[in-house]
């Protein structure tokens, strides 16, 4: 069409607005990266805007020398790996029976599960349950109480429902057990769906700070987000003028930690984007 080849005012302005949106989302991230790479004097004097001033890697050196942050990093990696694995296993195993039309009590179970989305008793009763089970101060307090996210379970169940029932019937006739069908046929065939919900679980664990904050007492067990939060509160008080601790500039160290904490996210981001959008869509449809 002729009209579309021409550069229209609308197109120009639209592109400009969108460029502004992109800059507005990216700028804070570039800014903290610049701070983490700048020298302390420039940071304190507020000379850093976009590019690092007095480029150096001192802050990263400090972070790695200090043993709190590397340990917290390893804790986070461990919690995220274990948590995501447990989530996927529980969800996959739970979704399979629910996806079978004739499954005993299917309607009852589904109603009971969906109902929990509306009945949220709040943090205190959940905390009491976790405490009474003796899970406090262990990884299991972070993993077990959220082993299944209802929305993710429903998404996976719908995915299984759309898979061909003929495969299962053929396998049953051949004498395969349900366990074999699930682990050798259904799960390998549902990799895209598992990747999509696995991503949400992964992000949930990696970014979680409230649950570790309330369930872990031992500072050695803190994940990265809790350590970051401690740095944050310290520097916030400092900045607000509530605390007078002059010499230190934890800004660059804090931002170096943030940049390090974004590495796993950046690594999965290219894959994540695709599945993420799909997951959001499925979630909204079933909402």
């Amino acid at each position: 069409m002729v009209g579309e080849r021409k550069i229209s005012w609308f197109g120009v302005i639209n592109t400009l607005i969108l460029a502004l949106v992109a800059v507005a989302t990216l700028y804070p991230i570039l800014y903290i990266t610049a701070i983490s790479l700048s020298d302390t004097v420039s940071v304190v004097q507020g000379k850093v805007f976009l590019f690092p001033k007095g480029l150096n890697f001192e802050a990263y050196g400090e972070v790695l020398k200090n043993d709190t942050i590397p340990r917290a990093y390893l804790n986070s990696v461990f919690y995220t790996a274990l948590g995501t694995f447990v989530n996927l296993l529980f969800t996959a195993v739970a979704a399979y029976p629910l996806s079978q039309k004739g499954f005993f009590g299917r309607k009852f179970f589904m109603t009971a599960i969906v109902l929990t989305m509306f009945l949220n008793p709040g943090i205190i009763p959940t905390y009491v349950v976790v405490q009474q089970l003796g899970l406090t101060d262990s990884v299991w307090a972070l993993v077990l109480p959220n082993a299944i996210w209802t929305m993710e379970l429903i998404i996976l169940k719908s995915f299984y429902e759309n898979m061909s029932t003929q495969i299962r019937e053929a396998a049953l006739i051949d004498g395969a057990s349900e366990y074999r069908i699930l682990f050798n046929i259904v799960i390998p065939l549902s990799k895209p769906a598992l990747a999509s919900i696995g991503l949400f679980y992964f992000m949930g664990h990696w970014n979680s700070f409230f649950l570790p904050l309330i369930y872990l007492n031992d500072a050695d067990k803190y994940p990265l987000q809790v350590v970051l939060r401690d740095m944050l509160i310290y520097s916030a008080e400092n900045d607000a003028g509530l605390v007078d601790r002059s010499a230190l500039a934890p800004q660059s160290i804090k931002n170096a930690t943030i940049v390090l904490s974004m590495i796993p996210v950046l690594l999965i981001y290219p894959f994540a984007q695709k599945y993420f959008a799909k997951g959001v869509m499925l979630g909204s449809e079933k909402g």
């Binding site: 609308f10 639209n14 607005i17 969108l18 949106v21 992109a22 989302t25 990216l26 804070p28 991230i29 800014y31 903290i32 304190v44 507020g46 529980f90 195993v93 739970a94 029976p97 499954f103 005993f104 179970f109 599960i113 509306f118 009945l119 008793p121 709040g122 943090i123 205190i124 009763p125 959940t126 009491v128 349950v129 109480p145 082993a147 299944i148 349900e178 366990y179 992000m203 970014n207 979680s208 700070f209 970051l228 939060r229 944050l232 916030a236 008080e237 900045d239 607000a240 003028g241 800004q251 931002n255 904490s261 974004m262 996210v265 981001y269 984007q273 959008a277 959001v280 909204s284 909402g287």
Partner: protein, 310 residues
Amino acid sequence: MHKKSSRSRLGTTWNHIKRDRQLLLLFLPCILFYVVFRYGPLYGLIIAFKDYSVFSGVLGSEWVGFEHFITFFTNHDFWMLFRNTLLLGLYTLIFGFPFPILLALLLNEVRNKWVKKSVQTFSYFPAFLSVVIISSMIIDFLSPNHGILNQMLAAFGFEKKYFLVDPGWFRPIYVISEIWANTGYESIIYLAAIAGISPTLYEAAKVDGASRFHMIRHITLPGLFPTMLIMFILKTGSMIRVGYEKVLLLYNPMTYDVADVFSTYVYRKGLLESNYSYAAAVGLFEALVAMVMLLSANAVSKRLGGNGLW
């Protein structure tokens, strides 16, 4: 006769269970999970009507009836929390709602694939960041000593502002950062809805000589309406569940009066001051209000002729 049929029905049930025994065994972890961690806390809610102590347990603690509720409702904290929760939720809803729609409309009008793709890629990114990181960025930007905003204020000859200890600034900061973090992510849903609108409508409009603005107004927006309605209900329903994690990270004693919401109050009273029963009562009240809001939003949507959530 009657007895016989009920016995045979019991027999079928038993056969049914036997037939599904493998599936049921697979399903057992799920049952245990929901019973212990989703229904268990509902049972644990009775501590809101007791004076719970860790040593006597849920059953052993003494009943006090509605005492904690009465204490809460007659406390002046109650109105403060109610106002803060409602206002933060309402502002986020009202100001945050249009942005994802606008972004989706603008993205949809871009002809250049590369521009569209990269703007989308960037705009999702904040959805992958934790609240701690987002709060940290907010604090960096607003810092009176070296924050970029105060640098700019200073450059134009204004005085430095202590944004985070100023009660007047808490709500705008909260709402603006919510918009920054969520716009890209939420626009995904609207973009998909736009993709679902029949292209023949646009072709017909083009033949009739409609401009882009006409098409947006008369085709795209009406086409988006059902999605907008659903999103609006979902957001109204969860309005009272304000993002307490961010409040927790950003507030301080100077801004408690405008920032404290039900959830942060529950955390402070219950977990920091070990006042479990009182906090559970507050939490129960919050949960009830949230449920009522979701149910009424859904009812209103059905009345309007749209689809409800169920």
